[in-house]
């Protein structure tokens, strides 16, 4: 049973990293992205190949994050002029382009992906690493939000044109958001590769991107704690509903729909509502 819990902890923590990374882009900076899995995959492939080539685990993870962040910079730079829904669909396209490219590359293993990735840690070790990484990202996320950068991000999210008239270099901050958010995904990808031992292109498909965005939105876009809760909830969802194997996805879809319908600010909005109710209730 312990191993089961540990594996859930690992994948839960990976999802937290992915969701927090996307939240920096979509929540803090207002740039909805439907292609986050591409950066997850970039980190996974880069770290896996480096690790196989003999680089130490820690260095592979760091470089995986770096490569993903670099790709994020390129994508962010190229799409600076593309806004709102156009951007969402462009990032979705980046995801498909990534997948289509990887599938055809022999040096990336093509359809077979990359196998025999070393597994340098025990299940407990991976769990500690993943949770540590997730906590570090929570800290980074809270810091960003509070810092000067967070203020600018907010201004960009609220009204990009107004922000730039005020002399804010919006492009620079959008790029920072992209780089940080995608590097987080790359780091998570590196851990994923070493946990599973084999990566195939399909693991980083459109559905994965949608799943990450769903975690952000269900948690409450822009709220670090909300997104954390959203990622944990949606990771555990399939497990909680294992007893109804057959209806799992139906329930998942219905839950997304229900949260958006009745609590569109996600879990964070729900929490705020409860807090307000408690405060105003005559005690």
């Amino acid at each position: 049973m312990e191993a089961y819990i540990l594996s859930l902890v690992v994948f839960g923590a990976l999802n937290v990293m992915l969701a927090l990374g996307l939240n920096m882009i979509s929540g803090f900076c207002g740039q909805i992205s439907l292609g986050h899995a591409a950066f997850y995959g970039t980190g996974a492939y880069a770290a896996a190949l480096l690790s196989i080539s003999g680089l130490p685990f820690a260095a592979s993870l760091a470089l995986g994050a770096l490569v993903a962040g670099a790709l994020g910079l390129v994508v962010g730079f190229a799409t600076l002029r593309v806004r709102e829904d156009f951007l969402a669909i462009t990032t979705m396209g980046v995801g498909f382009l990534f997948l289509g490219f990887v599938r055809k590359q022999e040096w990336l293993g093509g359809e077979f992906g990359v196998a025999q990735i070393p597994s340098p840690l025990s299940p407990l070790g991976f769990a500690v690493l993943a949770v540590g990484g997730a906590l570090a990202m929570v800290a980074l996320s809270l810091h960003l939000r509070r810092s000067w950068m967070g203020e600018v991000f907010r201004a960009v999210a609220a009204d990009e044109d107004a922000a730039s008239t005020l002399g804010v270099d919006t492009a620079r901050y959008k790029l920072w958001a992209f780089v940080l958010g995608t590097a987080c995904a790359g780091f998570a990808g590196g851990i994923y590769a070493h946990v599973t031992g084999l990566i195939v292109p399909d693991a980083f498909d459109f559905i994965q991107s949608v799943t990450i965005l769903a975690m952000v939105v269900v948690g409450g876009i822009g709220s670090t704690w909300g997104v954390l809760a959203g990622a944990v909830l949606l990771t555990l969802m399939p497990e909680l509903f294992r007893f109804v194997n057959d209806y799992k996805l139906l329930i998942y879809g219905a839950l997304l729909l229900a949260v958006m319908r009745w609590s569109p600010s996600g879990l964070a909005g729900l929490a705020a509502l409860v807090r307000r109710a408690l405060r105003s209730s005559p005690a």
Binding site: R81, V82, I89, L97
Partner: protein, 288 residues
């Protein structure tokens, strides 16, 4: 000859995309919603069609069944899902739509089985006509013709009927339209009914072309439809049709000449990204 055939194949694929994209772009033009669940309506139309055809033995009855069921469900989606969310940020409706689509796909699997349903009797697929060496079956011809007819009828409807004018007024300025006595809610219902009817017809035709109606058949059009309406300029109806045809033709040639480098989806999105890098708002001006 070979290239001509590829062109024809591409135009037929484009026609198929156009029937999907028209509904999507109508919804976007009116409500600013990326209506992913439109692909669920597409599959629903196909299921209504195949179940009717197999139960009655008549493909002709399948046509009104597919169109009718889809046209009925579209407005319901608006009423119960999108209408309460209109004041929210756009991603709220997007995620709700994705959730609905996932639930619909899985609902089809639970109700009608994971293997999908073939048509017991599909004479339209096997009846082919040869035109200058290019053989097309009746379903392919129907796909091309119905897209032409629907797009044409829609153009006439918008330009020449009272309801069409009301619709256009609501798209370009809802408040102004309302002050002239146009009920925007009625226009929205109409909008969903028309768009969904087209998706249902497209679903049936695709089901006939594949001779298979399966739970996941909406998956590809769910995202490719979005790519098309973005390429054509969000909310721009003629733009969506042109973008559909371009994408169809690009994919047709791409799947033969570029298959060693990129797969079909990646080819489509490579075109989309290339266009958006040059024209960030699509090929044609977005609505409003």
């Amino acid at each position: 000859m070979f290239h001509l055939e590829l062109l024809v194949v591409g135009l037929i694929w484009g026609a198929m995309y156009a029937m999907m994209a028209l509904g999507l772009t109508l919804v976007y033009g009116l409500l600013r919603i990326l209506h992913v669940a439109h692909a669920g309506v597409f599959a629903l139309g196909a299921y209504a069609g195949v179940l009717t055809a197999n139960a009655t033995g008549s493909l002709w009855l399948a046509v009104p069944a597919a169109i009718g069921v889809a046209a009925a469900v579209g407005p319901l989606i608006y009423r119960f899902i999108y209408a309460p969310m209109l004041s929210r940020p756009p991603y709220v409706a997007l995620i709700a739509s994705i959730g609905l689509f996932i639930a619909m796909e899985d609902g089809f699997r639970l109700l009608f089985g994971p293997y999908g349903l073939p048509f017991d009797y599909n004479p339209w697929f096997v009846t082919t006509y040869s035109l200058g060496g290019i053989s097309l079956n009746v379903v392919q011809i129907a796909m091309a013709v119905s897209t032409l007819v629907l797009a044409g009828a829609f153009g006439v409807f918008i330009a020449a009927t009272r309801v069409g004018v009301a619709w256009r007024a609501t798209v370009s300025d809802p408040q102004m339209a309302q002050s002239f006595g146009i009920d925007p809610v009625r226009v929205r219902y109409l909008n969903f009914a028309i768009g969904s009817a087209m998706a249902g017809a497209a679903g049936l035709l695709v089901g006939l072309l594949n001779n298979l109606v399966e739970p996941g058949m909406g998956a590809v059009v769910s995202y490719k439809g979005l790519a098309i309406i973005v390429l054509g300029g969000l909310g721009n109806v003629p733009g969506a049709v042109v973008a559909s045809l371009i994408l169809g033709v690009v994919e047709s040639f791409g799947t033969v000449y570029l298959a060693a480098v990129l797969d079909r989806d990646a080819i489509a999105f490579a075109v989309l990204i290339a266009v958006l890098l040059i024209r960030p708002r699509g090929l044609f001006a977005p609505a409003r």
